[in-house]
């Protein structure tokens, strides 16, 4: 039963069981949740490293679980998946160590660490999944598990952020699910494998499918029209959680998009090749636009922020734009997109590294200076030199300066865009490359702002809480910085490694490594691929400072949220309220109108009723006359009898006593009988005088029944007449 394949379960189950352990044990110990969290994360990391080594040695592990309906859980990690999983697990491990000392004083550590571990399990599961169903299951698990992290502070802002996060994520997840269902329906399986030819054969619109997946994954990544949850969430979550939201969970979206675009939307049929290429190129172009918008908008918005975490959140959005650009290039170049593909993965990896570091640093700063606003910070380089150095390394990595982590991937993306421009041969593809440079410049500008704002100048806050970073924090940050430096020093090695990962998943290409071997980063740098942006960035920063651009708060109505989502939400709410308050109590209103009409009709019927009544009355009148005459006759007869029977009368005198008794009895009965209708009248009350038609209660129900019956009858007769 426990074969080597079962090893795949360990990295997922270890954090989940840890979370379960935390939830079930109500002990209020300080150490307990922290130890469990770190140990579980470590176990998961170790298992993943083993899996990674096996995968590198060529062993492909596969595990099918709960294979029950048509779709069970199925794990079969690709090279890329394992690589990212190891990265993410390592980050998670580091973040949990960081959290141990960071969350010294906050409340509910049990809840925090449990959901931290649970979302780790989900996140790792996403990378190990073999089909989209498994992917989706863990994707959703991760989303929901992260909710308590977002609302951890339980402030109003946190709760609002949580609401936005939750509902947008659910919506995105459902769109993604729809996409997956469509895919499954079209191809019969949820497996991650080339499917474009099947889609084209079955006539399913690949653009629609791509849109659904893009919405689903893009929401997690924070692509521009869907990014609004991201700043709220990142700001309200505690630093380790934010680091993981940005560094690790974001990457599930990237991974999903990579897998979908380059694997599922790959073509295997020779005959359909031209059509497939067209589709891929079109999607690539669309994504190119999307990536540019995301990159620039994220950058501009970041430039305007005065809160460290918000700035970093927008920076994260902007970096996602880079990744999408790389992916778009890969799609657009189809057969030659290997380099761009590698660039995307490489940059995702780099982003995981430096965004984790930056958000953790944000946490450190918050812990020590008690604020995240530039207004209350400054001059921290003196107090926290270690933090300052780490921040410098991370910032330079984001900028992609030579020797730092972002360097290799940015060069690659730039190269890819240049290739796209050459390949497409149109002016705006050329513009893309220029805009990319501009984007990098903006990045440089806001990082200069960030760095200067925090670490230089005078300290504007009230007091510093701690003098030094904790040693655990230092260790974590040190490891991360070393990682970034290593990647930056040897970009070629890293790239070769990621190209290997890309080759493992990207089925269209066979040439990768050889071609990539020709890339020489350091000469590329000499061509100014990255230097120019940096210089431009300083200029932008100077200009922006000069024009007081940072002080400028863009009007609220300009944001996407205010322009699109809020009106939509308000509209929906209005719809709900209008609909529900008015409609439920009065579907009646509609029926009421129908009711009055039918009431009028029924009044006609009532007139007919009255007519019959009158008839009865007339007949009754006649009858009573007849009866009267008969009574007179009767009286006559009885007079005759009385005369005849005078003697009998005396005899019957005794009997009359009995008669009187009977009479009295009858009278009593009569009285009682008279009382009954009185009571009934009382009971009836106004009901008997109900001439106006009223619709309430049961009446509404019966009316609805009648109306529906009529409608159905009519429809059926119309149809039935044609058919039968």
């Amino acid at each position: 039963m426990f074969t080597r394949d079962t090893l795949l379960l360990l990295p997922i189950l270890a954090p989940m069981l840890g979370a379960l352990l935390l939830l079930l044990n109500p002990a209020r110990s300080w150490l307990w949740p922290r130890v469990v969290a770190v140990l579980a994360a470590f176990l998961s990391l170790v298992a993943l490293v083993v899996v990674f080594n096996l995968r590198q040695a060529g062993t492909i592990l596969q595990l099918n679980l709960l294979h029950v309906v048509d779709y069970g859980l199925s794990f079969r990690p690709s090279f890329l998946g394992v690589t990212l999983a190891v990265t993410v697990a390592a980050l998670w491990f580091l973040a949990s160590i960081f959290a141990v000392s960071f969350l010294k004083s906050t409340h509910s550590p049990r809840r925090f660490f449990a959901s931290f571990l649970l979302s780790m399990g989900g996140c790792v599961g996403v990378f190990l999944a073999n089909d989209y169903f498994t992917f989706f299951v863990f994707f959703e698990l991760m989303t929901f598990a992260a909710y308590p992290l977002v609302v951890h502070a339980e402030s109003d802002h946190a709760r609002r952020a949580g609401d936005i996060y939750l509902y947008m994520s659910v919506a995105g997840g459902l769109v993604l699910l729809f996409g997956i269902l469509l895919l499954v329906w079209a191809t019969g399986t949820a497996e991650i494998a080339p499917k474009l030819h099947v889609l084209l054969e079955r006539g399913v619109n690949p653009y629609l499918l791509a849109l659904m997946f893009l919405v689903g994954f893009g929401l997690k990544m924070g692509l521009v029209p869907l990014h609004i949850w991201l700043p709220y969430t990142y700001v309200s979550a505690p630093a380790p959680a934010t680091a993981m939201l940005s560094g690790a969970m974001n990457k599930t979206g990237v991974y999903g998009l990579v897998v979908f675009l380059t694997v599922t939307l790959a073509n295997k049929s020779e005959t359909l090749a031209p059509a497939a290429t067209l589709v891929q190129e079109n999607i690539g172009l669309i994504l190119l636009g999307l990536g540019l918008v995301t990159m620039l908008m994220g950058g501009f918005l970041a430039l305007m922020q005065s809160n460290i975490k918000r700035l970093l959140a927008y920076s994260s959005i902007s970096q996602m734009g880079y990744i999408v650009l790389a992916l778009a290039s890969a799609m657009y170049l189809t057969k030659e997109g290997g380099l761009a593909h590698t660039a995307a993965i490489f940059h995702a990896f780099n982003h995981a590294l430096f965004s984790t570091t930056l958000f953790l640093l944000g946490g450190v700063i918050y812990l020590h200076a008690g604020s995240l606003h530039f207004d209350r910070l400054g001059g921290l380089a003196r107090f926290l030199p270690f933090t300052a150095i780490a921040a410098l390394i991370a910032s330079l990595s984001v900028l992609g300066l030579p020797g730092f982590a972002g360097f290799g991937s940015k060069i690659l993306i730039h190269k890819a865009l240049v290739t796209v421009a050459e390949h497409g041969d149109s002016w705006w593809l050329l513009m893309t490359e220029k805009l990319f440079v501009l984007g990098s410049a903006i990045t440089a500008a806001y990082f200069i702002k960030l760095y200067l704002g925090i670490f230089f100048g005078k300290f504007k806050g009230t007091e510093l809480r701690y003098r030094q970073e904790g040693w655990l924090m230092r260790a974590v940050l040190g490891v991360l910085c070393c990682g970034m430096l290593l990647v930056g020093m040897f970009p070629g090695l890293a790239m070769r490694f990621f190209s290997l990962a890309a080759e493992g998943t990207f089925v269209n290409i066979t040439y990768l490594i050889k071609k990539l071997a020709t890339v020489d980063f350091w000469t590329a740098y000499a061509y100014g691929g990255v230097f120019w942006p940096f210089a431009l960035g300083i200029i932008v920063f100077v200009i922006a400072t000069y024009c007081r651009f940072f002080a400028w708060k863009y009007p609220k109505w300009l944001s996407v949220e205010a322009l699109v989502f809020r009106p939509a939400y308000n509209f929906f709410l209005m719809l709900c309220c209008l609909y529900a308050t008015k409609a439920d109590g009065g579907i009646c209103d509609v029926y009421d109108r129908g009711g009055t009409i039918s009431g009028r009709l029924l009044r006609q019927v009532k007139r007919f009723d009255d007519l019959i009544d009158e008839g009865y009355e007339a007949v009754g009148h006649g009858t009573s006359q007849i009866v009267e005459q008969a009574r007179q006759l009767d009286q006559g007869v009885s007079r005759a009898y009385r005369e005849v029977g005078g003697q009998v009368h005396t005899v019957a005198h005794g009997m009359s006593v009995v008669d009187a008794a009977v009479g009295e009895a009858y009278e009593q009965v009569g009285k009682a009988a008279a009382r009954v209708p009185e009571d009934l009248n009382k009971l009836e009350g106004i009901g008997s005088t109900a001439s106006t038609f009223s619709l309430q209660n049961v009446t509404i129900g019966s009316l609805i029944v009648a109306v529906i019956l009529l409608i159905i009858l009519t429809i059926m007769y119309i149809y039935g007449g044609q058919v039968l």
Partner: protein, 125 residues
């Protein structure tokens, strides 16, 4: 022509009557606010359906389907048997509804549906 129509009407007199009864019941149900009257209307409707059902099984000049010498023409016993059940159900429905009306009167002091609604208030949301 008209004779034909009359003949058809006569031939379906039971069905026709039952439909008319049904409509009368429905009319009463809709127009009256008194809960007792609504129940009466319900009973009228039930009766209409019973009539309809029994009429299905009726045969001209038929007798009760008991194997006695000399009787050859039987009505279909199934509908009658079913309707007996139907009547039982209808009786229990009515009785139960009456009990509920008594309770309603206890709670609200009236058996007028409008007044009950007014007392209860529109709690739709």
């Amino acid at each position: 022509m008209s004779v034909e129509i009359l003949e058809r009407l006569y031939g379906n007199i039971y069905y026709l009557t039952s439909v008319i009864l049904f409509v009368i019941g429905f009319h009463t149900m809709l127009t009256h606010r008194n809960l007792i009257k609504k129940l009466m209307a319900l009973n009228i409707m039930d009766t209409a359906i019973f009539l309809f059902f029994v009429a299905i099984g009726y045969r001209e000049g038929g007798q009760a389907p008991i194997l006695l010498p000399g009787v050859e023409r039987f009505v279909n016993p199934v509908p009658s048997a079913l309707i007996l059940t139907g009547i039982v159900i209808s009786v229990s429905f009515t009785a139960f509804a009456l009990a509920l009306v008594v309770l309603l009167h206890k709670h609200y002091g009236t058996i007028d549906s409008d007044e009950i609604i007014a007392i209860r208030g529109k709690k739709y949301v």
